[in-house]
Symmetry: C2
Subunit: 448 residues, 2 copies
């Protein structure tokens, strides 16, 4: 039995019963591409077995490193961009209270992210906010040459050396990088930083359950054993190619059916503010896997009921090319009882003594009905608890779903050829060696 | 001369020269609807003159209230949803350093937002984080009966009374509500809370420059005089209906031209992390104004270069129905110089001694060229400085642009009929009096 459950019962108005059985042969073909490695991008299927096939020695070292950081640092900065931070950030938010960096009586360091933009203001403000406090850093980059994290690493490494000396700084730098080659690997070997591995056969957006995500999550107090166990159980669950048996595959099939009807934008939604970053992780996973060859579902996100008062009007009555997938927490970690008030001017009396999470749940059901009536298909991933086990399970659900979904749409779900385009232009405009011809061409276009 | 400047030079590949002149008669008609009040929703044009016609006495009281809160509170909580918090939150982020609530040596209270979701976890965690510190609240609701802020107000008011007694609590509650009627007005009159007005002729999403936004912005240290001055100067600037003279109208015209070519999703983008919430404000402004009658541009947002490593692949090569509008800060408030490194393993040596903001600017230019080449139209709003004057100017630019844009698409840009749909369902599912028939109907549907 699945730990999380996928609910497509609100789709009856949009997808006929026969459609799922008619797409089954394509799902079976996609499953074969994925499982037998006959599909495009077959070098990057390491995520499939990662929940059971991970390096147990490294896993123990991750826990030890997290313990060391917890013991000697008030602040921990994870340096990375794209898949090198989104999963960790999403998981840390998912597993901790709101405002976790600002809660009193913390037993773990505050955790921040750097190297995920080129804003000088951001890095300046981050450094100022850290102040004189003890800190450690985890630089996460397969190549060690990506512009954003490389800049942040230079700046924060210099700060560590100024504070702790060269020898002391080395004890506070953790490098997650290629196992054998690259700039960061070379530096880590030479300087003696503790090293962790970005696996060769796992793309960045699928890497949250590798050392890439695990070290920051563990530093923040996450139970990474349970995280992996949840993913491992999901791996066992989602093996049957039959969409009536495999909920992850059914989700993949249904979103492709909807896409072909003109529902080309998908919103991932939540009803808990600390799932917002899960939506950001999901947007990279889906958009970078599927958005290519001038096709693919555009991944958007929304936070409810918050955004029902901003995007709600559009969702209810705007252009009808949207569909929604809700990640719904069944049992949220904390709650507040709505107080009584004698005067009852606000008319909330009928809710006095009820819990906010009870009201939140009714809001969810009300929204599904309203949006369905408005012409927007809604699907739901019900997640029993907001804990590490459930998170691992949910991560795996979406990872395997997007692989099947990508093959169903006839693309390679594991590459990202378009990400280089802006980088080349940026290098040329910055006058980097080797880009002289492009520099000339782009400068001419900009000065036209 | 405009203080901010709108750049559509990258559109040449997508919009022919003749198109702007051919849409001019429609823009002139839309301008007439707006200025003469002959268009739909003409009761809600108060935002047009607000930057000069605001209540000067109330404005002085807002400053005095902010000073009082700054003197007696470590924490300030603004309670509101939709237009009752998005503008203030966007402005406070825009005007302050990153991590402003966590910077040492603050001279103003920490500012948080509540009543913008129904998550019990969020409100529990917020209350826990505030702890025993001195705090004040600003409850912002025209009716005083909206579910989310009403719940948060009950909970935080009870906390204030427990801490300060009934009399002390009244000194720490500021009510922004209807000038004459409604639940919150009645309570504020009875209890003697200081009151500020949500204007009758200004919709929530246009209300940031009224007391709705101004009090929280002022508490957080924002220069609200300069904010209003920027908006007032924009009001003078954007009066000519001629799209070759009026940049806000040109933006409105171009996005309608693009929409009619099938570019149905617009991304608002920035290159500064503390502009993320500006994007959220913009999404309500545009989506709620235009998404109706089964049409309208879907408003999305992205933060660069961050999201070039997540959404970047999709934007570069996915389905070609996207266009982008960048809010580009010319002179960011802080910066970091990229350090030298003898070994230069990361290959960043060519940037040593350069500032991050310089690199960020080249990234922007590289992205415009790359995305344009990939088939995505890009427009830019250049904002000289990240200060209150520029923010007021930029807010007015988008407000007047969406009014013209909405009329150009033949809708009422000032109503939001779809927002009630989910609320009715929620009330029915919660068993609220007066919804008995709907309760029966929806319960039957859910149990089917």
């Amino acid at each position: 039995m699945a730990h999380i459950s996928f609910d497509s019962s609100a789709l009856t108005k949009f997808v006929h019963d026969n459609e799922l059985s008619e797409i089954q042969p394509l799902v079976t073909a996609a499953d074969k591409e994925l499982r037998e490695g006959t599909g495009a991008g077959n070098d990057f299927r390491g995520f499939l077995d990662l929940p059971v096939a991970y390096d147990k020695d490294e896993f123990a070292r991750i826990k030890a490193a997290a313990k060391k950081v917890q013991g000697n640092s008030e602040v921990f900065v994870a340096i990375g961009i794209g898949g090198s931070y989104l999963g960790a950030q999403a998981a840390i938010d998912f597993l901790n209270p709101n405002f976790y960096n600002q809660q009193a009586n913390r037993s773990v360091p505050e955790v921040y992210f750097a190297g995920n933009s080129i804003s000088g203001s951001y890095l300046h403000d981050l450094v100022q906010m850290i102040g004189d406090r003890d800190f450690s850093i985890n630089v996460i980059s397969k190549s060690g040459t990506t512009t954003e994290p490389s800049i942040a690493f230079r700046v924060l490494k210099a700060k560590l050396i100024a504070k702790y000396g060269a020898a002391g700084a080395k004890e506070r730098i953790f490098a997650t990088t290629d196992k054998a080659k690259g700039a960061l690997k070379t530096e880590a070997d030479a300087e003696g930083y503790e090293e962790f591995v970005v696996p060769d056969d796992i793309g960045g957006r699928f890497s949250v359950l590798s050392a890439v995500g695990l070290l920051p999550i563990a530093v923040a107090g996450g139970d990474i054993d349970q995280l992996m166990q949840g993913a491992a159980d999901a791996r066992s669950e989602y093996t049957n190619p039959d969409v009536t048996k495999n909920e992850a595959y059914r989700y993949a099939a249904l979103r492709n059916i909807l896409y072909r009807k003109g529902f080309t934008t998908e919103l991932l939604e939540n009803y808990e503010p600390n799932l917002r970053l899960f939506g950001e992780w999901w947007k990279q996973l889906m958009g970078e896997s599927e958005g290519k060859d001038q096709k693919g579902i555009y991944p958007s996100s929304a936070n409810f009921s918050t955004d029902l008062h901003s995007l709600g009007q559009y969702i209810q009555e705007g252009l009808r090319n949207l569909f929604e997938t809700v990640v719904k927490i069944d049992d949220a970690p904390n709650d507040v009882t709505i107080p009584d008030d004698d005067k009852n001017l606000d008319g909330l009396g009928y809710l006095a003594g009820k819990s906010m999470n009870y009201v939140n749940d009714k809001a969810y059901h009300g929204v599904v009905l309203a949006h369905t009536d408005g012409g927007v298909p809604v699907m739901t991933v019900n997640v029993p608890k907001q804990d590490a086990y459930s998170l691992g399970y949910t991560i795996y659900f979406f990872e395997i779903a997007v692989a099947i979904s990508g093959y169903l749409n006839g693309i390679n779900p594991f590459n990202q050829p378009g990400v280089e385009a802006y980088k080349k232009n940026m290098f040329a405009l910055l006058g980097r060696q080797g880009y002289e011809e492009l520099t000339k061409e782009l400068t001419a276009r900009l000065n036209k």
